[in-house]
Point group: C2
Chain length 223, copies 2
Amino acid sequence: MRKIMKKIKVHIADDHQILIDGIIAVLSTEKNIEVVGYSLNGEDVLNWFASNEADVLILDINMPKVDGIVVLQNFFEHSFQQKVIVLSSYDDTKLIKEVLKIGASGFLAKKCAGENIVEAINTVYEGHQYFSKSIQQKLMETFTKQLSQKESSLHDSAFFSSITARETEILRLIAQQYNSKEISEILHISVNTVETHRKNLIRKLGVKNVVGLAIYAVKNNLV
Amino acid sequence: MRKIMKKIKVHIADDHQILIDGIIAVLSTEKNIEVVGYSLNGEDVLNWFASNEADVLILDINMPKVDGIVVLQNFFEHSFQQKVIVLSSYDDTKLIKEVLKIGASGFLAKKCAGENIVEAINTVYEGHQYFSKSIQQKLMETFTKQLSQKESSLHDSAFFSSITARETEILRLIAQQYNSKEISEILHISVNTVETHRKNLIRKLGVKNVVGLAIYAVKNNLV
DNA sequence: TTATTTCTAACGGTTTTCAGTGATGTAATA
DNA sequence: TATTACATCACTGAAAACCGTTAGAAATAA
């Protein structure tokens, strides 16, 4: 019994013909991948891609006429079901985040090996995400930085060194939009006491007013 | 001229001797890696590792007596400069985040290939992070999920449907701890106007007071 | 034991917030 | 043209926040 394999149809958009030819050459050796079209500028991509039945779009982000980002946005505004792999000369973290937000499934640095394109196409076609190695590394680093920042902000010197448990309790309630009177009722203490704690918090945290307290609370995951 | 290569010294901690032997076997073929010791339980790791000069600790997270997490915490509390690669049977996202927070440099699923261990050791020794493939995938997914959530919060119905540009401007200033009078001076408008905008914001966003506004602003990345 | 911190509470006074209501000019839109 | 949305401004009064300072009781650390 022979398994009939459906070919993955690929459209390529890049302003450098030579690069397109290169990619086509690489993909031509792959039995389950077929290049069904290409565009040399952003303007062209949407029309082209909408009319053919490509499954995957390989999109260069730096293109004349219409920027790749704009193409991406248009693309997902029309909620096409196809997958997009973004191609870029630089592995700029901001850019990567941007395109991921918009909805790209993969991100390839141009310096990566040809085999990665094949891998990327297969991966996104199966519904997963693909990132070339250097980009993975970068993203992972910002990711773990995020984690450690969260952690370190919790271990914020001000937070653990001088804010008492009671103050934290009150800070939490302030950030829940309770005013002093309400907090005094919740904690069964005098309004004056709440106000004192509040004043101490403002002083200790070096903020100006309740707004500062609220923001501090949010940034330290107290809400 | 021959380059003299310093061997990377590795310590392994796992309660399964057979796994340790396996790793040692894999690493024995590597010229630049040397296994200098191993521990069969968590309790043992810290003493052992502190006294020898290993560069990299390969640490199983599921161990008897002292849990791997506890070992990790102790480890970084004593601020050892060495790198830690965490080994685990499951690629549980929560667990990964946990160990990354604490300070691990790498995470390997036990199902991964032997060569990955070599790659991991070299990578973390050079100061980078290493994650086995399945884990990368998982982390990337939660990462992009985060991004999309951030995005969706920006596209919060309330935010884009009813808040005007001027109101946003004022909201931003409120979140910067300016009071109405100060905002009126910054924007060269009457205090009454600022107050009106403020009231409208409170109404439109369904919050109780400035604190609610501030929190809304932070959560929508306006500060 | 002594010293310090923390929680509690209070007083007096000023400033700000907040709710409600109403009004005007302008610009876009139906 | 009429309507709507927006930004602007005003007045009132009650409530809340803010500022400075003081001070006792209890728990905790030196």
